[in-house]
Subunit: 158 residues, 2 copies
Protein backbone atom coordinates (compact mmCIF):
# COMPACT_ATOMS: atom_id res chain seq x y z
CA UNK A 1 0.00 0.00 0.00
CA UNK A 2 1.43 3.34 -1.05
CA UNK A 3 1.64 6.25 1.40
CA UNK A 4 3.31 8.72 -0.97
CA UNK A 5 1.02 11.69 -1.74
CA UNK A 6 2.04 11.94 -5.40
CA UNK A 7 1.57 8.22 -6.02
CA UNK A 8 -1.80 8.21 -4.28
CA UNK A 9 -2.82 11.16 -6.45
CA UNK A 10 -1.92 9.27 -9.64
CA UNK A 11 -3.99 6.31 -8.43
CA UNK A 12 -6.86 8.64 -7.59
CA UNK A 13 -6.66 10.05 -11.13
CA UNK A 14 -6.78 6.51 -12.54
CA UNK A 15 -9.77 5.60 -10.37
CA UNK A 16 -11.56 8.78 -11.40
CA UNK A 17 -11.27 7.77 -15.06
CA UNK A 18 -12.46 4.27 -14.22
CA UNK A 19 -15.61 5.70 -12.60
CA UNK A 20 -16.16 8.08 -15.52
CA UNK A 21 -15.98 5.25 -18.06
CA UNK A 22 -18.35 3.09 -16.00
CA UNK A 23 -20.87 5.95 -15.97
CA UNK A 24 -20.51 6.40 -19.72
CA UNK A 25 -21.03 2.67 -20.30
CA UNK A 26 -24.23 2.83 -18.23
CA UNK A 27 -25.48 5.69 -20.39
CA UNK A 28 -24.76 3.92 -23.69
CA UNK A 29 -27.01 1.09 -24.90
CA UNK A 30 -25.57 -1.96 -26.66
CA UNK A 31 -27.08 -0.56 -29.85
CA UNK A 32 -25.30 2.79 -29.41
CA UNK A 33 -21.99 1.04 -28.76
CA UNK A 34 -22.31 -0.76 -32.11
CA UNK A 35 -22.18 2.60 -33.93
CA UNK A 36 -19.06 4.36 -35.21
CA UNK A 37 -17.96 7.28 -33.01
CA UNK A 38 -17.72 9.37 -36.22
CA UNK A 39 -18.35 8.38 -39.87
CA UNK A 40 -15.78 5.79 -40.95
CA UNK A 41 -14.08 5.68 -37.53
CA UNK A 42 -13.93 3.01 -34.80
CA UNK A 43 -17.12 1.60 -33.32
CA UNK A 44 -17.83 2.00 -29.61
CA UNK A 45 -17.58 -1.78 -29.09
CA UNK A 46 -14.13 -1.82 -30.67
CA UNK A 47 -12.93 0.94 -28.34
CA UNK A 48 -14.41 -0.90 -25.35
CA UNK A 49 -12.60 -4.09 -26.36
CA UNK A 50 -9.43 -2.12 -27.13
CA UNK A 51 -9.38 -0.50 -23.68
CA UNK A 52 -10.18 -3.81 -21.98
CA UNK A 53 -7.29 -5.55 -23.80
CA UNK A 54 -4.86 -2.65 -23.22
CA UNK A 55 -5.73 -2.34 -19.54
CA UNK A 56 -5.60 -6.12 -19.10
CA UNK A 57 -1.87 -5.77 -19.83
CA UNK A 58 -1.35 -3.42 -16.88
CA UNK A 59 -1.18 -6.06 -14.16
CA UNK A 60 1.51 -7.91 -16.14
CA UNK A 61 3.52 -4.67 -16.58
CA UNK A 62 3.20 -4.06 -12.84
CA UNK A 63 4.31 -7.65 -12.15
CA UNK A 64 1.00 -8.41 -10.44
CA UNK A 65 0.02 -11.50 -12.41
CA UNK A 66 -0.96 -12.87 -15.80
CA UNK A 67 -3.52 -11.68 -18.32
CA UNK A 68 -7.19 -12.42 -17.73
CA UNK A 69 -8.19 -12.18 -21.42
CA UNK A 70 -5.20 -12.48 -23.78
CA UNK A 71 -7.61 -13.65 -26.50
CA UNK A 72 -8.78 -10.05 -26.93
CA UNK A 73 -5.45 -8.86 -28.35
CA UNK A 74 -5.91 -10.36 -31.81
CA UNK A 75 -9.29 -8.68 -32.17
CA UNK A 76 -8.77 -5.32 -30.45
CA UNK A 77 -5.03 -4.57 -30.31
CA UNK A 78 -3.29 -6.17 -33.30
CA UNK A 79 -5.81 -5.18 -35.94
CA UNK A 80 -8.07 -2.19 -36.69
CA UNK A 81 -11.83 -2.25 -36.24
CA UNK A 82 -13.85 -4.31 -38.72
CA UNK A 83 -10.91 -6.63 -39.55
CA UNK A 84 -12.42 -9.58 -37.70
CA UNK A 85 -15.82 -10.85 -38.95
CA UNK A 86 -17.16 -11.61 -35.49
CA UNK A 87 -16.29 -9.97 -32.21
CA UNK A 88 -17.53 -10.90 -28.71
CA UNK A 89 -21.11 -9.82 -27.96
CA UNK A 90 -21.41 -6.43 -26.28
CA UNK A 91 -22.77 -7.77 -22.93
CA UNK A 92 -19.75 -10.11 -22.78
CA UNK A 93 -17.38 -7.19 -23.52
CA UNK A 94 -19.00 -5.18 -20.75
CA UNK A 95 -18.50 -8.10 -18.34
CA UNK A 96 -14.82 -8.48 -19.33
CA UNK A 97 -14.26 -4.73 -18.88
CA UNK A 98 -15.70 -4.95 -15.35
CA UNK A 99 -13.66 -8.06 -14.52
CA UNK A 100 -10.37 -6.55 -15.76
CA UNK A 101 -10.88 -3.14 -14.15
CA UNK A 102 -12.08 -4.50 -10.78
CA UNK A 103 -9.04 -6.79 -10.61
CA UNK A 104 -6.64 -3.91 -11.34
CA UNK A 105 -8.34 -1.71 -8.74
CA UNK A 106 -7.83 -4.44 -6.16
CA UNK A 107 -4.26 -5.34 -7.10
CA UNK A 108 -2.76 -1.85 -7.36
CA UNK A 109 -3.54 -1.41 -3.65
CA UNK A 110 -0.85 -3.99 -2.81
CA UNK A 111 2.14 -2.13 -4.30
CA UNK A 112 4.50 -0.23 -1.99
CA UNK A 113 6.03 3.15 -2.83
CA UNK A 114 9.35 1.48 -3.69
CA UNK A 115 7.58 -0.94 -6.00
CA UNK A 116 5.79 1.89 -7.82
CA UNK A 117 9.15 3.50 -8.52
CA UNK A 118 10.79 0.23 -9.63
CA UNK A 119 11.00 -0.79 -13.28
CA UNK A 120 7.98 -2.16 -15.12
CA UNK A 121 8.27 -5.63 -16.64
CA UNK A 122 8.67 -4.51 -20.28
CA UNK A 123 11.95 -2.66 -19.67
CA UNK A 124 15.30 -4.39 -19.05
CA UNK A 125 17.40 -3.67 -15.95
CA UNK A 126 20.09 -2.13 -18.22
CA UNK A 127 17.66 0.22 -19.97
CA UNK A 128 16.05 1.19 -16.66
CA UNK A 129 19.41 2.52 -15.41
CA UNK A 130 19.48 4.86 -18.43
CA UNK A 131 15.74 5.62 -18.38
CA UNK A 132 14.60 5.59 -14.73
CA UNK A 133 11.25 7.16 -15.63
CA UNK A 134 10.14 3.79 -17.05
CA UNK A 135 8.78 2.69 -13.70
CA UNK A 136 5.47 1.14 -12.69
CA UNK A 137 3.96 4.53 -11.85
CA UNK A 138 4.52 5.67 -15.45
CA UNK A 139 2.28 2.82 -16.61
CA UNK A 140 -0.68 4.06 -14.57
CA UNK A 141 -0.14 7.66 -15.71
CA UNK A 142 0.09 6.78 -19.41
CA UNK A 143 -2.81 4.33 -19.33
CA UNK A 144 -5.03 6.89 -17.60
CA UNK A 145 -4.35 9.27 -20.49
CA UNK A 146 -4.88 6.50 -23.06
CA UNK A 147 -8.26 5.69 -21.59
CA UNK A 148 -9.32 9.36 -21.44
CA UNK A 149 -8.36 9.76 -25.13
CA UNK A 150 -10.80 7.02 -26.15
CA UNK A 151 -13.41 8.01 -23.55
CA UNK A 152 -13.66 11.37 -25.31
CA UNK A 153 -14.42 9.52 -28.54
CA UNK A 154 -16.92 7.11 -26.99
CA UNK A 155 -18.75 10.04 -25.35
CA UNK A 156 -19.68 11.21 -28.86
CA UNK A 157 -22.09 8.24 -29.06
CA UNK A 158 -24.37 9.79 -26.42
CA UNK B 1 12.58 22.87 -9.73
CA UNK B 2 11.19 19.53 -8.63
CA UNK B 3 13.50 16.58 -7.90
CA UNK B 4 10.78 14.15 -6.85
CA UNK B 5 10.51 11.21 -9.27
CA UNK B 6 6.71 10.99 -9.12
CA UNK B 7 6.24 14.72 -9.67
CA UNK B 8 8.71 14.75 -12.57
CA UNK B 9 6.81 11.83 -14.08
CA UNK B 10 3.52 13.74 -13.90
CA UNK B 11 5.20 16.71 -15.62
CA UNK B 12 6.63 14.40 -18.26
CA UNK B 13 3.14 13.02 -18.87
CA UNK B 14 1.83 16.58 -19.27
CA UNK B 15 4.61 17.49 -21.67
CA UNK B 16 3.99 14.34 -23.69
CA UNK B 17 0.37 15.38 -24.24
CA UNK B 18 1.50 18.89 -25.16
CA UNK B 19 3.78 17.46 -27.87
CA UNK B 20 1.04 15.13 -29.09
CA UNK B 21 -1.44 17.98 -29.47
CA UNK B 22 1.11 20.14 -31.29
CA UNK B 23 1.69 17.29 -33.77
CA UNK B 24 -2.05 16.88 -34.27
CA UNK B 25 -2.46 20.62 -34.87
CA UNK B 26 0.28 20.46 -37.51
CA UNK B 27 -1.57 17.63 -39.26
CA UNK B 28 -4.92 19.44 -39.29
CA UNK B 29 -5.56 22.30 -41.71
CA UNK B 30 -7.57 25.37 -40.68
CA UNK B 31 -10.34 24.02 -42.88
CA UNK B 32 -10.36 20.65 -41.10
CA UNK B 33 -10.46 22.37 -37.71
CA UNK B 34 -13.63 24.20 -38.76
CA UNK B 35 -15.46 20.86 -39.10
CA UNK B 36 -17.45 19.09 -36.35
CA UNK B 37 -15.57 16.13 -34.81
CA UNK B 38 -18.76 14.07 -35.34
CA UNK B 39 -22.15 15.11 -36.79
CA UNK B 40 -23.78 17.70 -34.51
CA UNK B 41 -20.84 17.75 -32.04
CA UNK B 42 -18.19 20.39 -31.25
CA UNK B 43 -16.00 21.81 -34.01
CA UNK B 44 -12.23 21.37 -33.85
CA UNK B 45 -11.76 25.15 -33.45
CA UNK B 46 -14.09 25.17 -30.45
CA UNK B 47 -12.11 22.39 -28.78
CA UNK B 48 -8.83 24.20 -29.53
CA UNK B 49 -10.20 27.40 -27.96
CA UNK B 50 -11.70 25.39 -25.06
CA UNK B 51 -8.36 23.73 -24.26
CA UNK B 52 -6.49 27.04 -24.60
CA UNK B 53 -8.90 28.77 -22.19
CA UNK B 54 -8.92 25.84 -19.72
CA UNK B 55 -5.13 25.51 -19.73
CA UNK B 56 -4.70 29.27 -19.47
CA UNK B 57 -6.26 28.91 -16.00
CA UNK B 58 -3.54 26.50 -14.86
CA UNK B 59 -0.90 29.13 -14.04
CA UNK B 60 -3.43 30.95 -11.86
CA UNK B 61 -4.36 27.73 -10.03
CA UNK B 62 -0.64 27.06 -9.49
CA UNK B 63 -0.19 30.66 -8.21
CA UNK B 64 2.23 31.41 -11.05
CA UNK B 65 0.57 34.54 -12.42
CA UNK B 66 -2.49 35.94 -14.12
CA UNK B 67 -4.40 34.79 -17.18
CA UNK B 68 -2.98 35.56 -20.63
CA UNK B 69 -6.33 35.37 -22.44
CA UNK B 70 -9.31 35.68 -20.05
CA UNK B 71 -11.40 36.90 -23.01
CA UNK B 72 -11.58 33.30 -24.29
CA UNK B 73 -13.74 32.10 -21.40
CA UNK B 74 -16.99 33.66 -22.59
CA UNK B 75 -16.57 31.99 -25.98
CA UNK B 76 -15.06 28.61 -25.13
CA UNK B 77 -15.77 27.83 -21.47
CA UNK B 78 -19.06 29.45 -20.42
CA UNK B 79 -21.07 28.51 -23.51
CA UNK B 80 -21.32 25.55 -25.90
CA UNK B 81 -20.01 25.64 -29.46
CA UNK B 82 -21.96 27.75 -31.98
CA UNK B 83 -23.42 30.04 -29.27
CA UNK B 84 -21.24 33.00 -30.29
CA UNK B 85 -21.69 34.33 -33.87
CA UNK B 86 -18.00 35.04 -34.39
CA UNK B 87 -15.01 33.35 -32.79
CA UNK B 88 -11.31 34.26 -33.20
CA UNK B 89 -9.78 33.21 -36.55
CA UNK B 90 -8.10 29.78 -36.48
CA UNK B 91 -4.52 31.11 -37.04
CA UNK B 92 -5.03 33.42 -34.04
CA UNK B 93 -6.33 30.50 -31.93
CA UNK B 94 -3.28 28.45 -32.90
CA UNK B 95 -1.02 31.35 -31.83
CA UNK B 96 -2.81 31.72 -28.47
CA UNK B 97 -2.52 27.95 -27.86
CA UNK B 98 1.23 28.14 -28.45
CA UNK B 99 1.61 31.23 -26.26
CA UNK B 100 -0.35 29.70 -23.35
CA UNK B 101 1.30 26.28 -23.52
CA UNK B 102 4.86 27.61 -23.90
CA UNK B 103 4.36 29.87 -20.89
CA UNK B 104 3.06 26.99 -18.75
CA UNK B 105 5.97 24.77 -19.84
CA UNK B 106 8.39 27.45 -18.71
CA UNK B 107 6.67 28.34 -15.45
CA UNK B 108 6.04 24.84 -14.08
CA UNK B 109 9.83 24.36 -14.00
CA UNK B 110 10.06 26.91 -11.18
CA UNK B 111 7.90 25.05 -8.62
CA UNK B 112 9.60 23.10 -5.81
CA UNK B 113 8.39 19.71 -4.55
CA UNK B 114 6.82 21.36 -1.50
CA UNK B 115 4.99 23.82 -3.71
CA UNK B 116 3.60 21.03 -5.90
CA UNK B 117 2.14 19.40 -2.79
CA UNK B 118 0.72 22.67 -1.43
CA UNK B 119 -2.88 23.72 -2.05
CA UNK B 120 -3.96 25.14 -5.39
CA UNK B 121 -5.49 28.62 -5.41
CA UNK B 122 -9.13 27.55 -5.87
CA UNK B 123 -9.29 25.67 -2.55
CA UNK B 124 -9.44 27.34 0.87
CA UNK B 125 -6.90 26.57 3.61
CA UNK B 126 -9.73 25.03 5.69
CA UNK B 127 -10.91 22.74 2.91
CA UNK B 128 -7.34 21.75 2.08
CA UNK B 129 -6.91 20.36 5.62
CA UNK B 130 -9.88 18.07 4.98
CA UNK B 131 -8.98 17.33 1.32
CA UNK B 132 -5.17 17.33 1.06
CA UNK B 133 -5.29 15.82 -2.43
CA UNK B 134 -6.40 19.20 -3.79
CA UNK B 135 -2.82 20.27 -4.33
CA UNK B 136 -1.08 21.84 -7.31
CA UNK B 137 0.06 18.47 -8.64
CA UNK B 138 -3.58 17.36 -8.92
CA UNK B 139 -4.18 20.24 -11.34
CA UNK B 140 -1.52 18.99 -13.76
CA UNK B 141 -2.79 15.41 -13.54
CA UNK B 142 -6.43 16.33 -14.15
CA UNK B 143 -5.67 18.81 -16.93
CA UNK B 144 -3.51 16.25 -18.73
CA UNK B 145 -6.49 13.89 -18.75
CA UNK B 146 -8.86 16.68 -19.81
CA UNK B 147 -6.64 17.52 -22.77
CA UNK B 148 -6.30 13.85 -23.80
CA UNK B 149 -10.10 13.48 -23.72
CA UNK B 150 -10.52 16.24 -26.29
CA UNK B 151 -7.39 15.25 -28.25
CA UNK B 152 -9.08 11.92 -28.95
CA UNK B 153 -12.05 13.80 -30.38
CA UNK B 154 -9.95 16.21 -32.45
CA UNK B 155 -7.96 13.29 -33.88
CA UNK B 156 -11.17 12.18 -35.61
CA UNK B 157 -10.79 15.17 -37.95
CA UNK B 158 -7.72 13.61 -39.59
Amino acid sequence: MSTNTSILLALRNWEFEHVRMNKLLEQLSDEQLLKEVAPGKNRGVYLLGHLTAANDGIRKLLDLGGRLHPELDQIFLSVPDKSVPEIPATPLLRAMWKEVMDKIAEDVQTLSDDEWLSKHTAVSAEDFVKEPHRNKLSIILSRTVHQAYHAGQMALLK
